[in-house]
Amino acid sequence: MSTSLREGKPQLAGRPDRELRLRMFRLQVELRYFEKRAYDLFLQNLVKGTSHLSLGQEAIAAAFGVAMRSDDYTYATYRGHAHTLARGVPMGPVLAELLGRENGLMAGKGGSMHLTSVEHGVMGSYAIIGAHLPIACGSAWSAQYLGTGQVSVGFFGDGTTNIGAFHEALNFAKIWTLPVVFVCENNLYMEYTRTSEITAVEHPAADRASAYGLPSIIVDGNDPDAMYEVASTSLQLAREGGGPSLIEAKTYRHGGHSRADPGKYRPDAEVAEWLARDPLPMYRARLIADGVAESELAGVEADVGLAVEAATEFAKAGAVPGEDLLLKDVWANGGASWRN
C-alpha cells in the first residue's frame, strides 16, 4: 500500500538517493494506474460527476510526495487525485469517493474535486481557481505561530496565475515569511484555451516571482529527480524560516481538461512531442540505465496493478450513501440545523 512510501528517512535538500528514486517510481506508477482505472470506470458510467486527471503530470506529485514531511500540508485543486495519493492516502477510499459511495474518502459528500484526508496532511482539494493559495498561507501561518516546522504546499495550474487570489497569496506569504511552497504545474492550457494567449508574460508563474520579491524558478516537471531537488530545497528553505517559494514546473496533461473534454484543441505535433516526454517511461529507462534491475521495476508495476484491483473492488463494494449522511456535519455538533 502506498502508505509505506511515506516512511523511511526524512528528505534532504538535494539529489534523491536510490531509495527515494524507487519511491518516486512507485508513486508515479500508482498515480498512473489509478487514474487509468478511474477513466475506465468513468467510461463504465460508474464515476459520477466530473473528474480531472493528472496523467502525464505525475512526476510533480511524486517528487513532492517523497520530499514532504509526513505532517506537511498539501493543498490541491480539482485536479487532485495525484496529490492526494502521493501523500499516502489509500486508493480504495479515493476511488470510492469518485464513485459516490459511502466508503469514499468523504463518504461521497465531496466528490472528485474535493479530496481531503487530514490525517495524511491533505488539507483539501479546491475547485474554485486560486482560492486555496491564501488558505495554504493560513496553515503555514499556524505552523509558524505554533513552531511546528510544518510547511504548506499549494499546487495550481498556469491559468490560475491570472486570478486575484494568486496575487494576494503570494504577497501575503512573502511579507509574513510564511513556510509555504507554491507549485505551478504549467501544462500550457487552462481548460481549452492556451494560457500564453491570455497571459501577459511567457512564464506565467516564474515571470511573476519578482513581483513578490522571490527568485524565478523553472523546472522540468516531467523529471522526478529535478523536481525532487527543487521540492526538497524549497521545503527546507521554508522549514528553516526562509519564507515562501514559487516554482514553475513545465509539464503536460496527456488527456483533456476533464472527463468531458477530448482535448482536440491541441496541435497533434505538440501532443506527440509531450507524449514522447512521458515521465513514466523516461524515468523507468533512466533508473535502468542507472543500474536498477528491470525486474525490480516490473515487480513494482505488478504490485501496483494488484493494489488498483483491490481498490476497485473496495470502491465498487461500497454502499450508496444513505439519508443519515445528508444532514450530517454542516456544523461541528454533527448536525445541519440552523434553528433551535
Binding site: K48, G49, T50, G100, R101, G104, A107, G108, K109, G110, G111, S112, M113, H114, Y126, A127, I128, I129, G130, A131, G159, T160, N162, I163, G164, A165, M190, E191, Y192, T193, E197, I198, T199, A260, Y265, V320, P321, G322, E323, L325, L326, L327, V330, A336, W338
Partner: protein, 325 residues
C-alpha cells in the same frame, strides 16, 4: 418551428441579438474558440469574429469589470461566468459596482449588460459547482434576475435581457442544457418580469423556477390523480417580479407552495411568502409552504444530491400532506 436544446438556444439567442446590433459583444472563459465549456456558444466566434467574441483569462473580476466599463461607454456586453458559484470571486463588481452605480451617480450611467451563468445542481459537481444563486442576485438592489425553464424562454428572455438597459443576471439551469423544446423560426423576443401560468388548477398554486418548473408540473399531474388540482406558475424572472400574476393566481386557489432549488434561508420563496401574506392574507385558506433544498452545501454523490434537491416525490408528498391537514 424546430426542436432545439436549451443549450443550443443560448447560442441562437446571442446570435440573434449580435446580428441586429453591432455593439453587442461577448466575452468569457473558453467561450470563443471552444464554444463554451457547456457548448452553449458554439459557432459564435465563426460568425462574429474575434473582436466580438472573446476568450479571457481566468480573471472574473476583469471579465465583469470590462463588461461594466464597456456597458457605460456604448457597448452592450454579454459576459459569461462559467459556473454561477464563481460569482463569489467577482461579487464586488456585480453587487457593489454594477448594481449601484446608476443610483449613486443619479442616473448618469447605464448598464445595458447581461451576465450569463450556468446555475444549479443535478450534475453531481459538488458544493462549489452546483449552487443555485438566484437569491444572491435577487437580494442586491439594482440587478434584474432571470431564470428560463425552456429553450423558447431562453431565446426570448435572453433577447429581452440583451435589449434591456439595466444589468441582468441571466441564470441558465445547467441541468436543463440537454432538454429539448419546440422553438418557432425567426426572431423571438420576450418580456422581462412576466411569469407564466403553465398549468391551471383550482386547489393550490405551485410557484417554481428553472429546473423546478418541470418537477412542479409533474407533481401537479400526480396530485391531479389524487384529486388535487394545482396551478403551476413559472416565475421566469425574480426581478422584476410579476407580483400581479403571483397574487392573482394565489388568491384564486387560496394556497401557495413554492419550490426552490436554493438552500432555504433567505431564498426567494420567503420573499414570496411575505408578499402574499402581507397583501392577500385574507384570501389564504392555509399557510403558504416552502419546498426547498435543505440549508446545506450540496453533496456530490448522485444519491445524496438527489435527496437534497426537491424531487417530484417530495413536492407531491409535501403538498398532499398540507392539503389534507
Amino acid at each position: 418551428m424546430a426542436e432545439l436544446t436549451y443549450r443550443d438556444a443560448i447560442a441562437r439567442g446571442i446570435a440573434q441579438e449580435m446580428r441586429r446590433d453591432h455593439n453587442v459583444v461577448f466575452l468569457g472563459e473558453d467561450v470563443a474558440a471552444a464554444g463554451g465549456v457547456f457548448k452553449t456558444t458554439v459557432g459564435l466566434l465563426d460568425e462574429f469574429g474575434p473582436l466580438r467574441v472573446r476568450d479571457t483569462p481566468i480573471s472574473e473580476q476583469a471579465i465583469l469589470g470590462a463588461a461594466m466599463g464597456a456597458a457605460m461607454t456604448g457597448l452592450r456586453p454579454i459576459a459569461e461566468i462559467m459556473f454561477s458559484d464563481f460569482f463569489a470571486v467577482c461579487w464586488d463588481i456585480v453587487a457593489n459596482e454594477i448594481a449601484k452605480s446608476r443610483y449613486m451617480t443619479n442616473g448618469q450611467v447605464s448598464f445595458p449588460l447581461v451576465i450569463r451563468s450556468g446555475n444549479g445542481g443535478g450534475l453531481r459537481f459538488g458544493a462549489q459547482h452546483s449552487q443555485s444563486v438566484e437569491n444572491w442576485a435577487m437580494m442586491i438592489p439594482g440587478l434584474k434576475v432571470v431564470v428560463p425553464a425552456t429553450p423558447l424562454d431562453v431565446i426570448g428572455l435572453l433577447a429581452a435581457a440583451i435589449r434591456d438597459p439595466d444589468p441582468v443576471i441571466f441564470l441558465e439551469a445547467k441541468a436543463l442544457y440537454s432538454t429539448k423544446g419546440e422553438v418557432p423560426d425567426g426572431e423571438i423576443v420576450d418580456e422581462l418580469g412576466t411569469a407564466k401560468v403553465v398549468r391551471e388548477g383550482s386547489d393550490a398554486t405551485i410557484v417554481a423556477l428553472g429546473t423546478m418548473v418541470a418537477r412542479a408540473l409533474e407533481s401537479a399531474n400526480q396530485l391531479s390523480e389524487a384529486g388535487v388540482e394545482c396551478t403551476v406558475l413559472d416565475l421566469r424572472s425574480l426581478v422584476p417580479l410579476d407580483t400581479q400574476t403571483l397574487l392573482a393566481e394565489v388568491s384564486k386557489t387560496g394556497r401557495m407552495f413554492t419550490v426552490e432549488e436554493n438552500p432555504r434561508l433567505c431564498g426567494w420563496g420567503g420573499e414570496l411568502v411575505s408578499i402574499v401574506t402581507e397583501e392577500v392574507f385574507f384570501d389564504l385558506d392555509g399557510p403558504p409552504v416552502r419546498i426547498t433544498t435543505p440549508h446545506i452545501p450540496l453533496p456530490a454523490a448522485d444519491a445524496l444530491e438527489d435527496m437534497a434537491i426537491p424531487s417530484v416525490e417530495r413536492i407531491t408528498a409535501t403538498i398532499q400532506k398540507a392539503m389534507n391537514s
